[in-house]
Symmetry: C2
Subunit: 260 residues, 2 copies
């Protein structure tokens, strides 16, 4: 376990040097994907290629699921699977040059083994897994306080909040405030460090895989908004939180389903 942790950290730090250099040189090629707000840059693609090469050299039999370069679907989760998001929060990367993350998860036989979320500009790496615990850079961390919704801040997806989809705005109004950073990694780091009581969004597997390993290791809760386990396949409406806040949130998120 130590060897693979050491390897993955070295990839993350090396990739991040390139990402930081690209910000400094100010030479980005930005393209849109599904719509005008779904961006990809040459750095997303190059970082994913870099990580792919590292993974294949380290373990030629491993499978990879990742946001870019047509690696975004996987049906067979047997053996070792790496789930990679080279730049989570590409819009922020392009427009803010901060508030984006590099994320890597490792699954073994479809079970969470390791997660790494790196806030590149803040230089905060959360990493760990069920067999080793969770760390912030070099320091081991415990689960955050088990606060309810009314005791903290909620990270939310703007669209779901704006339309009150599945009572999301009502949940936000129960909280001490809502925050929108535009980056799942930033929100999941905040949740793990106790700066949020929950996070509700619409996410793809590479958005929550790494954070999910860490959340579960610490006893935090996550699922789709119907309460089912996330399937690592499609984009899903996602909810995560402290055990107390998760229970309060899912009660409202599932209110209409239960009535019908």
């Amino acid at each position: 376990m130590q060897e693979i942790v050491h390897e993955i950290k070295s990839w993350i730090y090396e990739a991040s040097e390139r990402i930081r250099a690209s910000i400094a040189s100010n030479q980005l090629t930005v393209c849109t994907k599904s719509d005008r707000t779904d961006l990809v840059t040459n750095i997303d693609k190059e970082t994913q290629d870099f990580l792919m090469t590292k993974i294949k050299n380290f373990d030629p039999t491993a499978k990879v699921l990742g946001e870019e370069n047509n690696q975004n679907h996987l049906t067979d989760f047997s053996g070792t699977v790496f789930i990679v998001d080279p730049i989570d929060g590409t819009m922020n990367f392009v427009l803010e040059q901060e508030n984006f993350c590099l994320m890597i998860a490792v699954y073994e036989e479809a079970k969470p083994s390791l997660g790494f979320i790196y806030d590149v500009v803040k230089d905060v790496l959360l990493w760990g897994g069920p067999s080793i615990g969770v760390y912030r850079n070099d320091e081991r961390i415990d689960a955050p306080a088990n606060k309810g919704v009314a005791e903290g801040l909620l990270g939310v997806n703007a669209g779901m909040y704006g339309t009150n989809f599945a009572h999301v705005r009502e949940i936000g109004n129960m909280a001490l405030g809502v925050r929108m950073s535009g980056c799942a990694g930033v929100e999941l780091i905040a949740l793990i460090l106790g700066k949020r009581i929950g996070y509700i969004s619409n996410l793809s597997p590479w958005d929550y895989a790494a954070g999910g390993v860490l959340l579960q290791t610490l006893g935090l809760k996550m699922s789709n908004i119907s309460g089912d386990a996330l399937n690592l396949s499609d984009r899903e409406f996602f909810v995560a939180g402290t055990p107390k806040a998760y229970e309060e949130m899912t009660r409202l998120l599932q209110k209409d389903e239960k009535v019908s």
Copy 2:
């Protein structure tokens, strides 16, 4: 001008050391004011007292308008007025230990003279005024690109976005995304540095005074949402942006007024 700039910077850095020490020592006394989301801590109050003492020693005739300690109203803006927010984003200070700012503005005969916004944790100080230009720490900065709403991110107040108050959600949907940080200073720094095309919120004078000096110095636009100059007196619905985005936003914000 150099003397007062040097003085105010020294107050900001000294106050920020105390604020950082309070985070490290983890001893905060938190009270609510008007409602459960309107917080004040012993550090807000102590910082405002500290700044008051510094201001009075520097200029015994100056008037002070500030968020805490019953200094929150001023009718006579003749002479020199300091407008102070010891901790803008107190909720973030308490719950996130980041994303809060210390802000000081100086007005001379009711005209903007100097503004300082300090992001304490990031150690980013934006400062300047009409006669000296705008600086980020030691580096002089120019106005950001004059982008329209559809070309960038919009900082918004959650309540106004959620209820589509004055078409705010529609404006948000025109942008590449909306962001909610819970701190006016953070949003105004982002706007000044070109990371936002605009910011719409409900603000008190100490929330926008310092940022307003810097915005106006750089040729950015701000007003209340009816297009009137902000009055430095009451809480007002606030809009600021690049000239292009400001014009697009105010057209929608004032749409209903103009129909009636």
